[in-house]
Symmetry: D3
Subunit: 298 residues, 6 copies
């Protein structure tokens, strides 16, 4: 009995390769437990799998095709919702296993706090690593609502681990005075509102380096990305953001871990945020896969 | 490497049993090619899989629990969208295989036309079979928009196969004069607006018989089921409809095939139609599984 | 050159008869100038014309078919929006002409104030007339926001014209203490929350009489009719309301004017209110046309 | 300088009395930290204050008028969002003070867990108290997601405090097998799906007793109340629910604390859930105020 | 009896001129039978007629006013929905007649396939014609879902008719590798992502030529145009697109046929896509009418 | 008894200072009585108060923090809805008192007509005053729907008061031919589509002058601001608009009155318009407060 000749389970289109043969492992993490404004990012990966079918597998921007690469959508992580500490451990364990299998984890949040354990697992393998961070918000609070582990503190926690001169933030346009002061002083982090020319310079300085890429999708303007918990006017357009993919493709940095977070599909008008998240997923899986093929990784 | 200890694919909760060990096989058929009013039923099964998590596995109405039965969600059928004839064959082939494996097919549409090939596959195995049909619309046209195979003709096509005295229609409140005349004359079909006492009588008359159950969800009132292509005011409430499950559970009819069709999730306010479709799926899988356990089937 | 063989303008389906040959004249009045809560009834008739196509022309409830009657959708009235007094005159003039042509005006509001001038035009022709009023609200204020002509005073203004023992209100469940006192005392009006048995009695007492029928659609429960300015929980279901059509069909009252008001389509989830308004329009045009055919009118 | 002659802050209409002169104190508690399905109840009281203006102050059902009573809307409680334990203490402290001032707390959630500390404060004053609980869900789990304090355990926690024969549950139609077994056995709680005749009997048995009334608004059917986290088809209609107000008004029970919870306005189509919550707030404040006036309380 | 002094049918504002006296004939074609992603373009023209009233008749960009030109909205084409071949013939016949009457057809889709028969009718009259095509998608597949006539093949079918060097595509950002290869090789078509300077050059090269202009509205970015079947991030803004109108006005090309397609109003948040489609309709009718007045056409 | 230690009323975050100690007074005016297209601006201030919590109090653009200034949200103005003349007087009286107390009125509409009485009150105090007007529409009609006081005439009425060379309009892209002619001729007003360089020049020319700033939020593009009555494609992006705040901060003009109008929250997808209005409110209160601190005012 081989029912699979007729049926398919709901995975990202052209990401149905086996785990073993794949270099890039895509998975969903539906956690939004510390969200302080509009919640719902827990539903992101499910909504994205439906919308992904509206795209083509070919990217004219990158001139690459998903059909030519081995990407595996391994589904959504089982989570102990309601217990933040336990959830963080579950993310850490799963990412650790992917990394240990010499594969690149590509996580779909969930809220931004999910980046912390995934980053940690990647960091423990490579150590000499840089963080590229796209976001509207600084996420540099020391604590938030009496909580050290929060969507609003996640980059500060990563800084606790890797320290100065390692974190590069782009698109930031909201935060407390204290957060901006922290970022701008003593190279704790490098922070930019949104300047693609600077991005290109930074990436060229990181030539040959390993990077962890974390994208809080609210870096995009609410006009193209309304479906997020804390929309912040004044963000980048999708067209501006496309440069990121092109620059990464032409660069010599090695993406060793990646995530896109903070899509909240129940606030997504006509699914335009979801389809935008899908296109970013496609472009970044292509860039990452292409990097691997070029023998850059591992 | 066993990644499954961490991850899950997106299936109906507690319907993750293997095909081989299961008696009831749930699958989605995302076809809406002949829809004449608002389309979108192609997205029904995907949307339902997300909403299903909001329910419990236990039914207090039936005092049965999904955890105690073997139901398998086998995913969505691969379809040649755009070619109606080919799609009908694909549904037929897949259902045929399920039926030949001595399992009960439980299909989630899609538009109502998908019932035709699924019914045909079931009919060819059992022959002596009756059809229970819930719907707001007669679906008894001879042709619609020059098309003999359409959501508006599907019950007429089934009548072509099994003939008089075999089809029982409930909840009907819309159709042409010709359709009503056809149904009401010479027992071509038995038709009722919505009378649960009559339903109980009919079911008791069918004692020991095999039935194919097809539910066009627009039989429900638009107040509880707005998310459908052609909402028709004056339908049954969910509470009235619950009697169907109880009566079936207590009956001696054998459900040998089943479908629920015409959920159009993009028109579904706050997902109330989708969660209602999910609850109907739960209750009916329980009733059908329970019937099998009682040794009634096969 | 006869382009009409190819094209159609946007009218209610099967109401494309000429004005001259028609007995019932349907027209839209997009006025909502005195609305105090959520506005937007100005868009009702336009939205209804699109939704009407989802219905059949045949009513199984009444066993009547629009194809067998002459109804004319004459379009929407030109209005001097912003000048309430002028608008009221424009409605009066147009209705007057329809009445003078021995035809029955069937108006689609707009807010409830539009009933006043339409009623007046009908009243001036027939004088001995009764008002049947369905609504959630009393509409019996003497003035509202310093305004004697308002959606909240319209039935009081009609009472000013025809006086005691002539107005019968059904479905009322909201108003001030003063309004309820006025209605209940000295037969100023007859008021009921919603009791279909009483409706049948009242209609049978009005045997042979002429009536003006005004339906504020918020008489329906917000579950089936969310798309209105001031939804009021606890209303009638559509199924309960269907009795009104059946009773009117079997009665000997003469409907000499009719309106349905207060659909606000921009608040209408999945268009279920709009399709409900359409079904009421179909049933009432059938009842009214049928009454005319029976020779009751003129 | 008296600017108040021109301006008003956003409070519930006709609930602008001073705290000191009022018997019933209405306040919002925007907490939804343990919500497991769709979140957003944190926004309930804010949304309700806007919608309340669409209602009248007079209730024709109860023949009572808000203008004749002293109710005070004291605003929303300041909360340490993100720290569940601290939030529970904050609710407890605020309710305690209201109770100590010999006033009746009327809380608007928030998720259902907020009932626990409010109930506790009321219980500590009166001890001999009964709980009337309307809900679709049992809320009787021992723990949920490793958490003893959760929206899914709240009634179990209350039972921990007051024990057997004190809790009366109405409208329940979802839960695990274990929860139903617990409720139905040894009079741990009294549980009913929804039977207003039984409600009347229970209330008459509680003659002269003090009750705490907690209403999870998802007891209502999703057709009238889509705007909630976990809609469950098969609920009560608003008209059925109205009997509760009438029975309470005519009874001799003393309401010494009250809450309505689980409105999630971002999932509320056309605000019909919000306006329904408002009407329930009006009717219950009237009943409770009327009880106080009759000298029943304090 | 002249009821028209009071009433109007629902046409585009200031496009109520008679067919005979008009140069530009606007009509709707509500067909979306081959749509593979989100359907609903069948409702476009109806929705646009309502929104058009929000605009002025005067264009400050073009310094032209609809009041100064003769444009006729002739309504919507009658279609045999469900039978694609027949529908294509119906579009062809209607367009043919308009063209034969020496008028310019301005079609409002519907899905993009409707362009094929309209183009064919125009092509048969003029032969020496060029196609200007705005779109996010190439539409250059040889077949799609086993179908040669599809929204995804329409430009390939037009190329079958007019061959190389005649088709100019702008805004393209999605397609298969094969489609991009076809377009870019041997001047089969000219393809650009979106560069208004290039557009100006192309138009100036076409000086004195006749052009058919087809605009798939998804060429616009989803931020301003969410209401379409297959939104593709990275499109042009409305302000960028305005240059098209200005360049066309100042050019010497002759627009002999025109269409705007793929508005799907049920996915249109707050109607911003619909009002954008309306503004494009206004600007293009003005440009086309102005061209005719200048004696350029016929 | 000090309940305020627990509770807060619903005001703009960090604008809870006392009227007496504050320089800038924020208030809502929920009037939309002359709106000709989509209504609902009456709900703007209520919706904004909820959304404001999603923002930070610190502006990285201006490097200013609300915590460092004294702004008072005094609530919403009591209005005689339905009586336009009376409403205008009420706005005038309230603004007059604020102005007389040497404070700066910051009004949140409501439709644009509310600007007229507020401006008048400010004008009467200062006389030598200039008007900066951002809008998509000219608002320069002499009358509209037979009405001299309308959202479409408001700037013309202001011109009646202050005359030529005093009004500077930015972002205008819609109006009648007559309105554009009026504006462009004899310096009646200065009108620009949207050119931030010009804005900077104008502001520098007004060095040392007092200005009244009125922002019709539909000046923004519908992609970022769908939630308004008459969306007009082709507007400014939020990023372009940010320059206004920076230029004003660095300028020597004195803002003596300010308003933002025409947010219609019921048409606001995912609240992105509302959060944008909130950010503009924050930036402008900061600029205005900062100007006062610098000793520029009074």
């Amino acid at each position: 009995m081989q029912m699979n000749k007729f049926f398919h389970l709901n995975t990202f289109m052209e990401m149905e390769n086996s785990y073993e043969e794949s270099n890039v492992i895509v998975f969903g993490v539906g956690f939004d437990g510390t969200t302080s404004n509009r919640p719902g990012t827990r539903f992101a990966s499910t909504s994205m799998r439906r919308e992904f079918y509206g795209l083509e597998t070919y990217s004219p921007l990158l001139e690459l095709d998903l059909e030519d690469y081995k990407v595996c959508d391994i589904g959504d992580l089982d989570l102990s919702i309601g217990n933040t500490e336990k959830v963080l451990n579950e993310i850490y364990d799963a990412t650790k296993e992917i990394v240990n299998d010499n594969k690149i984890p590509f996580m779909i949040g969930g809220e931004h706090l999910v980046t912390l354990p995934a980053f940690k697992a990647v960091y423990e393998k490579f150590n000499d690593i840089y963080v590229i961070h796209f976001d509207a918000h600084t996420d540099l609070r020391q604590e938030y609502n009496n909580n050290e582990n929060s969507h609003a503190t996640v980059i500060k926690r990563i800084w606790d681990i890797i320290g100065d001169n390692r974190i590069f933030q782009f698109g930031i346009r909201s935060g407390t005075k204290e957060e901006f002061n922290f970022a701008l002083k003593e190279k704790h982090t490098y922070m930019e509102v949104s300047n693609i020319i600077t991005f290109e310079k930074i990436i060229s300085k990181l030539d040959g380096k390993k990077i962890y890429l974390t994208i809080d999708l609210d870096v995009l303007d609410p006009s193209i990305f309304p479906g997020t918990g804390t929309p912040e006017p004044g963000g980048v357009t999708y067209k501006e953001f496309e440069n990121v993919f092109r620059i990464l493709k032409n660069s010599n940095v090695e993406i060793v871990g990646c995530d896109i977070v903070e899509l909240s599909p129940d606030y997504d008008n006509a699914n335009i945020s979801t389809v935008t998240a899908c296109k970013i997923l496609r472009e970044l899986s292509l860039v990452t896969s292409d990097n691997v093929e070029k023998g850059k990784l591992i």
